[in-house]
């Protein structure tokens, strides 16, 4: 019962902040809401007993990605003319379609016969994740590291000032 109340509280707060991300006119506010969403998702990870992911979520998303976004907003202040609205022309339709999509998928999910097993989460989860990366998942892991490297170099190449 406590778990359910906790879940509902976190879920509602997180979703409200997510709503804030998409409706906030001020981009900086949107970015702050985004940090809130990341934090909410991290607490859900803790509820799901995925502590490692919760930590990683905070370190990577809040520590790196959100910071990056805030920096980008600061650097590009005045990019948007004030006369422009925050939404494009198709937003009514997109909103309607998204509500329909949400209803449809939720309905399908509720109908879907999942078979939960009630087992304890393994105590050595972090250890298993670590050995998974150097064992079973070694090739995707290496590919991911190459991807990060490429993204790093690519981002520098793209964003650098050209002297000529």
């Amino acid at each position: 019962m406590v778990g359910q109340i906790l879940f509902i509280f976190i879920a509602v707060v997180t979703l409200l902040m997510a709503l804030g991300v998409v409706v906030a006119r001020n981009l900086f506010h949107a970015a702050l809401f985004l940090v809130g969403v990341f934090f909410g998702v991290a607490t859900l990870f803790i509820l799901l007993e995925a502590e490692f992911l919760a930590m990683a979520q905070i370190v990577i998303y809040i520590g790196a990605i959100a910071t990056l976004i805030v920096f980008a907003i600061m650097l590009s202040r005045g990019m948007m003319g004030k006369h422009l609205g925050k939404y494009n022309k198709q937003w009514y339709f997109a909103g309607g379609a998204m509500i329909f999509f949400f209803g449809l998928v939720s309905w399908l999910l509720v109908k879907m016969p999942f078979a939960p097993v009630s087992a304890e989460a393994p105590a050595d989860a972090i250890q298993q994740i670590g050995s998974g990366f150097v064992g079973h998942y070694v090739v995707p892991f290496e590919v991911a590291s190459v991807l990060l490297l490429v993204a790093l170099v690519g981002a520098i190449m793209l964003a650098r000032e050209r002297n000529s």
């Binding site: 198709q90 009514y92 339709f93 379609a97 999509f101 449809l104 399908l108 109908k111 079973h136 090739v139």
Partner: protein, 730 residues
Amino acid sequence: MSESIFNLTWLIPLPTALAFFAIILFANPKKRLSSKIAVGGVIIAWILSWAVAIMFFVNPEFTEQPFDLAVPWIPMGNIVFHMGVAVDAVTAGMLFMVGFVLTMIFIYSTGYMSFPGHLDPEKYPDAAKEGLDPRYSRFFAYISLFATGMLGLVVADNLLMLFIFWEIMGLCSYLLIGFWFDKSYPDPKQITPKAAGLKAFLTTRVGDVLFMMGLIFLFIHAGDLNFQNIFANQEFLHELSTTTVNLPFFGAVTWAGLISMLIFWGAIGKSAQFPLHVWLPDAMEGPTPVSALIHAATMVSAGVYLIVRMSPLFSAAAHGGSGVMMFVAFIGAFTALFAATIAVAQKDIKKVLAYSTISQLGYMFAALGIGAWVAAIIHLLIHAFFKSLLFMGSGSVIHGVHHGHEHAHAHGHGEGGHEEYFDPQDMFNMGGLLKRMPITGWTFIIGGASLSAFPLITAGFWSKDEILAHAWADGHMAVYWTLAAGAFLTAFYTFRQIFLTFFGSPRTEAAEHAPESVRSMTWPLVALAFFALFGGFVAVPVDFPVVGGLASDFLAKLMEMQGEFYGLHVAPARFDWTPALISMTLALSGIVVAWLVYGWKPLKAKQSDPLRRWLGPVYTVLENKYYFDELYYFIAVRPTLWLASFFYLFDRGVIDRIVNWVGAFNRWLARTLRRWIDEYIIDGAVNGVGLVTTWTGAVVRLIQTGQAQNYLLILLLSVVILLLLIPFGS
């Protein structure tokens, strides 16, 4: 020791890939350096592939358990997908051919890609001074990437990897056909390189989508795409050929039949078989080395290679009562004859070869359809040698004629010809070139003799005869006679080409002054001519009188042993005098008829083709390729364009007007009503109507706006429709 060589197999596609990256990243501005990097890369690949191939040839016991080296790639739930390389007899044979032909064509390209005639030297002063194509480096980058695609496809041990490399080749083909994308012709109906590239890409896409569907079905059933795991597993194949699926229009078909049919369509597209053959002749707009490499020796034969790989599945499907093998045989035999008839009436030296390639690929598919896959793979290998030789010879001729044309102009000979467009690929502008270009001429004649299956001394005779012998021995008389008629036409159009190009007297100033090509172009011709003559001695039937005892058929033996591993039993066709004599007679009589028409009394300048007089309207039909381009334009291209312009006009003319009109009406309504009723209420209503108006406009204007968000919205709608299929479908 020998096993350890195979461990190097995965390195084979690597040198050319590294060359590609080295050129595009670093060496691009330096043209000579780029070509050296590319040639160096391909030579390393050649050495590696020959090391692997020869090691396999001398140790036939490897056929019992082919080499496979795979690493876990993507774990998906309970299945771990493995990627890797495999070597069996078919791979070894392909590696032998591909490595060598690639190297020859790379070397040839260093000479061929000189400054092209259609460009204005003043626009590219540096390139013109060097005498090299302005995009010389880019060409070598592209063909290096292509080489990676082909080598990777050959060594791939599973269908997914094969498909990836298959698509890399498709991309390179598109890029290279359109390599001279700024070229245009005075005749607006003649297809430009840019359009030809697009056409090739889109036409092969039709086949590739079906191929991918086949792959997905196969993966669903097998949980794996590794060749050895699937095709050496008799139980699985049997199960696949006995379980059925209900299709609309077709009724119940076996899974094996459905999957092999879908995959065969991929091969039809890639190997330019009827009805998806239309792209290959237009692909000749690319530089000639590209035609030799991609559209004769390697990429187009990848379709045949694929079906050879899939043979166990096809034969399982045939055992399960599916007619897919018959379909393959029909498409192959029909295309072989159909394309040969078109080749008879072409005047462009490369178009003749293009149709000849389609026709020869048809022979291979016919062989696969009657179960003679050993004959098919051997014809594939030998055809690659002589057809790339012929293409490179034709490139050398085009170069020579082009230089002759410039030379004639420079010396003021070509009076009056200045304004006229001169086509250096038109065979009626040639003649007597054997004296001017002896090496090109003689090697071309060797290649042509091999293509026409000149008895006993050429490689083409042995490989083609094998297919005909199988068709005869297994009682496929319709296939036999279709292919035999094709063989007659093949000999005829080949020697028509040879007589028109190399014999008689020059019909233009350009042909009179044509110089022999540079050594980097002639040497590869000589090397390939060697294989075009003697390559066939790897497949001489043992019981062939006299010669059979002298030569060996080790390659055919090797392939048969490999077939046992995959559960395919192909007995070599017993030698029979009747079909052998018929095919020899037909080939020789084709040559004799060509001589009677074109060799005996050589054509004079401006004289039209005597066949045109004799065949009349038939010739026109053939010359226009049975009007297939027009037909496809009519049934596929025009409706698409029409639909696109309809939507455009609809958007502009109807929707915009409705939107404007409704808007104006609203304004009028608002103004009128404001006087009478409380303006706050009405204002709200009007805004509502305006909102609906904008909304309608926005919805209908979704098509083709160039905005990523619109496309994403359409994607969302498609997903929603697919999701609705879950509860409401089935």
